[in-house]
Assembly symmetry: C2
């Protein structure tokens, strides 16, 4: 079993993708994260859903969380509007993260080792420098447990 | 819309739950994390899937990731056996994390504020000190976007 056989459908955006579109992808497909790819299709970084959620929260509430309780319901209902004016670039953390990627012919243990070291919920699978899919931590557990059952 | 209406089915374990059982729950239901509850049913911490993956990786490979590539395929196929002898307690990070929880009557913006501050993929929802469900970051985005569409 190699990375290519484990990999699943790609959920990618670029830095130019609208924040609202990225949020819809995560919401509709219930994804914990998306992969941000460059113009050449190479993965650049991971956008966790919690960073998109962060964009929903006004900065004065981020500075003082107790203010969240006093916002009116109608104001809270309109927080998604904040996503309309942003792009994925605006949602990415400022500190660059190590790029989680594996090769199509890496073994389960190689994928697990990288995921463990970076404590990342998802890695990109590359073949000839192009991304062909992703592997989430729960997918890796699924494959590992099935492999053992069949073995 | 309050936390209680947003919350989803609980996926909980205790510190005594077997690591293999916890891994199966994550694998079968494709969950990015589980909630670890105490004897009184109160949530204590989050167990991310990446920590379970970390348990699959022998410590000498964690220390030197290049060794992962030289492990034989048959050895890699048996990594799930490592889970059989462990419990959830063994998988939890040593440094205690701030406990992500919200009250059943908290608003979307309060939930989002906590999730954003802790950069957590999931929070527990409490009513009368007991856990009644969880909210993931992607679930919060789903609710937020639907709310706006209906409004």
């Amino acid at each position: 079993m190699h990375a290519q056989e484990m990999s699943e459908e790609i959920a990618t955006v670029t830095r130019q993708t609208g924040a609202l579109e990225a949020a819809r992808m995560m919401a509709e497909r219930r994804l914990p994260a998306l992969v941000v790819v460059g113009p050449d299709g190479q993965p650049e970084s991971i956008l966790p859903a919690s960073e998109v959620v962060r964009c929903l929260v006004p900065s004065y509430v981020q500075d003082d969380p107790s203010l969240a309780g006093v916002l009116s319901e109608s104001m809270a209902d309109r927080i998604a509007e904040r996503l309309g004016t942003r792009t994925v670039r605006d949602l990415l953390p400022r500190e660059p993260q190590e790029l989680p990627q594996v090769n199509h012919d890496d073994t389960i243990i190689e994928v697990a080792a990288l995921m463990a070291r970076l404590r990342t919920p998802m890695v990109a699978v590359l073949r000839d420098h192009r991304m062909i899919g992703v592997i989430t931590a729960s997918r890796l557990l699924q494959v590992t447990l099935n492999t053992d059952r069949d073995g």
